[in-house]
Each structure stands twice: as structure tokens, then as C-alpha cells.
Subunit: 352 residues, 2 copies
């Protein structure tokens, strides 16, 4: 390890994102939970209108029009909304702003694996709270334990969701702690906690336009919470990078948030495909968790998940496998188009 | 201050960028060192070609085509090039990767004010090295003092540059330290240190496309250095945000780096305007430092800089003033188009 690295850099084990095919490779890509349908035509138009001379000028440092659209949609005051370069950046800023050595962060033992990486980046200790036997989050344990809280709801890669009432129990038990609810997948069938923002000053809800808004390529995330939590995020952002969203991402965000009609139909299609694929997999003997997301988390008692992944990859289909405690015989299958899922299902059947 | 903030967040004094006019305000904007000319038509075309369905997919996490173009231009191996969301993000990652409590960072006392903010963000101590009487960087002091080094070359807001040989003296004196040279303005008349990268494993050169490549609105920065320093940046990036450049920023970067011909003519125009404006200001009794940048740093023995700024603003022209030790009677004037600078000069003359 280089003599120039500080302790943080030496100790980090960076997050590894799902495989991105190289130029020219043509996979059915159901491994990184992207949306199989294009962004709204209004988003494309909004970006095109902004590709002009104005790119020579800095963007609005507060990403005003994007935040305004998000605030309007969710009936929040503007000062309760923060925008960042993807929800990953928003999460990184949150860890930098609120967590430190003096208090542990409570995290489910099986969840988005970036959370523990953020802890290492910020030199914060964490405590993993085991999911229950059925892979649901153990709300009682989160109520009981002391510390700040980070929960993905729905959780990934399990795909399962908590009710808002259960999140509220956690919020009430942690009035002196920050509770971050990462709602990356909430639009596919779970209930959002945004309605609790005005009652709980310790709640920060994080969302992204990468999944249900089909804009992974534009890197746009939001957080909303009490004015003081959003102030904290702004303090970090303004000490890190004054302008984290470029001019095109800002207008893309505004247009995407405003076009509910288009995206509702996209979500409907994905949910309907999800339920069909789930039924077929169950018929083939797979266990499939109750998904409130755009992916399925599946396992088979008699088949090896890693082998299935290899077989699918060899046949042009990318899915995600995590070599991790408790879930190493599971696969995470993003819901693609009906055609893509038919190809996936026919490969799965051929394997029998 | 909120009970939810950690010590870092409580203690930070965030950077304040130059004023960005609100929608509908029409200022002559010579306050944030943007390029007065549009980006290359090839950049516009490259972005337009990419505004399509593919925005639903994540970008290449390594920003491959952008890094490849930068590496080719500067004859560097690809693994010696890092790309980030503006040079501010690249700098923030550098501080996070290489600096810690055990070693001070040496910084000129008058320079880009974000450097000390990064120190506070990363909880790193710094020592300010006074510029010499003539506002040049005191190379002997940087050679003599112990610590990591961060220098903007040309320096901002002074506009003055060091020769590469002087930077090399500093590199030789600090073999165990990281030396960051921030070349945001280098294309306007200074010599780059990139040629030293293969000989000094402690050198990290940071550049941006915001100034000479007219792409402030797209947020693109680079660092180049030894493979190990770039590895360190990647470790931090991959523990912070897997994809910091969106798909459009990546193709914009590639096209901008490749179109030297267009940008050489833009730089030539800016330098020629700069020299003309400088002469006229000198004739009006202003002292103007020797600029190797796209801005002038000026003062007048009998006039109050803050009052001039207010007068200009009231007349529709934004310039930058820093209420800071030693430079509080100076103004930083970005070089705009000839028409913009004529308006500025005529206001300055009217004030006489």
C-alpha cells in the first residue's frame, strides 16, 4: 500500500458496483436495477433545450429548479430539500455531516453494502442488526438498540418493505439520533416516509431518480428532512463541491419529477412484469421474497446461485450475486422488459 | 447549531462561491472566471448525440472515454489519470485520500480559499506560507517547511505563475509528502507540470474543463499523477460515489479535450483581450499583477476596491472582491468578451 495513503485510504474496502458492459458488449442487463424503459420524452426535450452556450456558466449551486420540483411534488418547504449527485453522494454527505466516533450507526446485517463503506470512509463504528429469519427488518431490535440509524426501505437486496408505522416506532425511539431512510426503490410498491418529515426532526429520507425515473445515467438524488438536517447537508456540500449537479442534470431532474403520468405507467408495467415473473419462478420451485422494488430476490433449495449466475452470463444475461453471509445462495434479478424477462425465464427453464 | 451535527459539521466554515445571477437578472458576469465564449460546437454535438434512451443506464464508473482522451492528449498512461465531478471534487478526494492529523498541509496565505475548507472538512491542520511582498509564491519557504503541499499554479486570485523549475524544487524537497499542483488556469499562459508526473511519484496535478474549455456548467475535473496516487483517489471515489460523472459530462469531456484547435483560438482571444484591458487599466493608474490566467487582479492606491465593486454592480457588472487580509483593496476581474470589457472599462473611466 502506498506510503502516501492516510489511514482512512489504507483501511478502506471500496464498494464494487454491478458489472457495466464494455462498449460493444450486448448483454441483457438485469444486474444493476436500472429501469428498462427510457426516460420521459419531456426529460429528453428539457435536456436538449439546455445543451447550448450556457454550459460555459456554472450551474445554480443550490440546484434550485430541481429542488423546487421535488418540494412541490411532496408538499415540502424548499429548505427541507437537498439535491446531490446521485443518492450515493447524498448518503456520503449524510454520514459526513451527522455521524462520528462517539456514536454507533445501526444498520441491518443484510442491506445496501455501501453503508458500511461510508462508515469506514468517515471512520464511524457500526453495529449490524440481524434481519429476522424471514429476512424482514427486526424493528424491535432497532427500537431497543442505541445509535444513529440507516435503513433502506424497501431493503436491498431483499426487496422487502416496512410499513411507515414501523419506521415511526424507530423514529420515536431515537429522538436524539439521526434516522436515515433510503427510499431508492420506494416507488415500486412501498409507502414513503416523506409524510413524517414535518413531525420528526431526526428523520432524513433519501430518494433517487436512478430507478423509477429511469435516469441512472444522470446521477440525481435527493434528501428531505427537517430544515436543520438539510442545513447540515448543505454545510458539508459547500465544503466539498459548490456545484455537484451539472446544468443538464438539474433540468433533467425538474422535468422527470414533473412528469408523473409517464412514470406512473412505466412503474405499472414493471410491477406487472415483476408479478408475472415471480409466479413463473415460484412454479419452477424458486423461493421469491415479497418484492416492493424493481427486482426479485430469489433462491432455490437444490440449485447453486453462483452457478446459475455463471450460466446466465455465458448465455448473455447479467444478474447480481452477493458472496455474503446468509444470502450467498440468492440472486438479485432486476425486472427488465417483458421480452428480456422471457429470455431470462426460458434460460432458467432450459437449465432444468 | 443543531444537536444532530457532528463536530466536523459544527466547526466548518463553508466556501462561498461567486454570485450566480438569478433567472431573469442580466449582469455582465465577470466574477467567477467562466469562459466568455461558448463550448466547441463538437462538444454540443457530442452531448446531443447522447441525449437518448441510454440515460436510463449508469455511466461508466471509470469515465473511461474522458480519461482516455486526457491521457492521450498529455501522453500519460490511462492508470495515471483520474476524472471527477469538477476539480473541486477531485481536490476534496485528494484531501480525503492523502492528508491526516499527523502532518500539516502547507498552503500559500493568499490562494483559492477552498483549500483551508477542505482541511477543516478532513480535520487536517494547515500552515499558511506568506506570499512574498510582490505576491509571488515563496518557493524557498515551501522548500524549507515540512508538510504536504497544495499550490495553485497560476495562483488565484493573484493570477501569477511559478515556473516548472520552481515547482520541481518543491517536489525534490518533499519526497515523502504529496504535492498537489492545481492548474485550473494553466492554459492561459503558464507552463504545466504534467511533464513531471513520470518522474515524481509525489506529484498530483489537478486540472479542470470549467475555465479554458468553457464547460463550468458540466462539472468536469481531472487529476494526474503516479499510479499509486491515482489509486488512492479511486479508493476514495469508490467509497463515496461509484459514478461521479454523468453520461453527458463524460462525452462532453472527451469532445472538449479532443478539439484543441477550437479552444486554442478561444484562449488566444481571451489572452489578447486580457493584455489590452491590462494596458488600459495601467493607464488609468491601476496596479495590475502579471496575469497568466483568464482574470486580472487589480488595485488602485487612491480608490476603495469594495466601493468600486458596489458601483460596478449597481451598473450591471459583477466582479469579485475578497474581504481578506492583504488583498482587501484588490478586485478580481474575469476577462469577458471585448464588448463586455469595453463596458467595464467605460464604467471605470466614468468613475474617475
Amino acid at each position: 500500500m502506498s506510503k502516501f495513503f492516510n489511514k482512512r485510504t489504507k483501511n478502506l474496502i471500496p464498494y464494487v458496483p454491478g458489472e457495466q458492459p464494455k462498449e460493444g458488449e450486448t448483454f441483457i442487463k438485469i444486474n444493476t436495477n436500472e429501469c428498462p424503459y427510457p426516460p420521459s420524452p419531456r426529460v429528453i426535450e428539457a435536456i436538449c433545450r439546455s445543451v447550448n452556450e450556457s454550459l460555459r456558466l456554472y450551474p445554480a449551486p443550490d440546484a434550485y429548479v430541481a429542488r423546487k420540483a421535488f418540494a412541490n411534488k411532496h408538499k415540502l418547504p424548499l429548505e427541507c430539500v437537498f439535491a446531490g449527485n446521485g443518492s450515493d453522494e447524498v448518503l456520503a454527505f449524510s454520514f459526513l455531516a451527522f455521524f462520528d466516533k462517539n456514536k454507533k450507526v445501526l444498520i441491518p446485517d443484510i442491506t445496501y453494502s455501501f453503508y458500511t463503506v461510508y462508515c469506514d470512509l468517515c471512520e464511524v463504528e457500526y453495529k449490524k442488526i440481524s434481519l429476522k429469519e424471514d429476512f424482514t427488518i427486526d424493528v424491535d431490535a432497532f427500537v431497543r438498540e442505541k445509535g444513529n440509524v440507516v435503513i433502506a426501505n424497501p431493503n436491498a437486496p431483499t426487496s422487502m418493505a416496512l410499513d411507515v408505522g414501523e419506521i415511526e416506532r424507530i423514529l420515536k425511539a431515537h429522538p436524539e439520533d439521526v434516522v436515515i431512510i433510503d427510499e431508492a426503490y420506494v416507488d415500486f410498491g412501498a409507502d414513503s416516509c416523506i409524510g413524517l418529515v414535518d413531525r420528526y426532526d431526526n428523520l432524513l429520507v433519501v430518494q433517487t431518480l436512478s430507478k423509477s425515473r429511469a435516469l441512472a445515467g444522470m446521477r440525481i438524488g435527493f434528501a428531505c428532512g427537517s430544515k436543520e438536517l438539510v442545513d447540515g447537508l448543505n454545510r458539508i456540500k459547500d465544503s466539498f463541491n459548490s456545484y455537484t449537479l451539472d446544468r443538464l442534470a438539474i433540468v433533467a431532474a425538474e422535468a422527470a419529477i414533473k412528469d408523473d403520468e409517464y412514470y406512473e405507467s412505466v412503474i405499472e408495467k414493471i410491477v406487472s412484469t415483476r408479478e408475472r415473473v415471480k409466479s413463473e419462478l415460484v412454479e419452477l420451485g424458486y423461493q421469491v421474497l415479497d418484492s416492493r422494488t424493481n427486482f426479485l430476490f430469489i433462491t432455490h433449495k437444490e440449485k447453486n446461485a453462483e452457478e446459475i449466475m455463471g450460466y446466465l452470463r455465458a448465455n448473455g444475461v447479467l444478474v447480481r450475486h452477493f458472496k455474503t453471509y446468509r444470502i450467498d445462495n440468492y440472486l438479485r434479478i432486476t425486472i427488465g422488459t417483458d421480452e428480456e424477462m422471457d429470455k431470462f425465464l426460458s434460460l432458467i427453464k432450459d437449465m432444468e
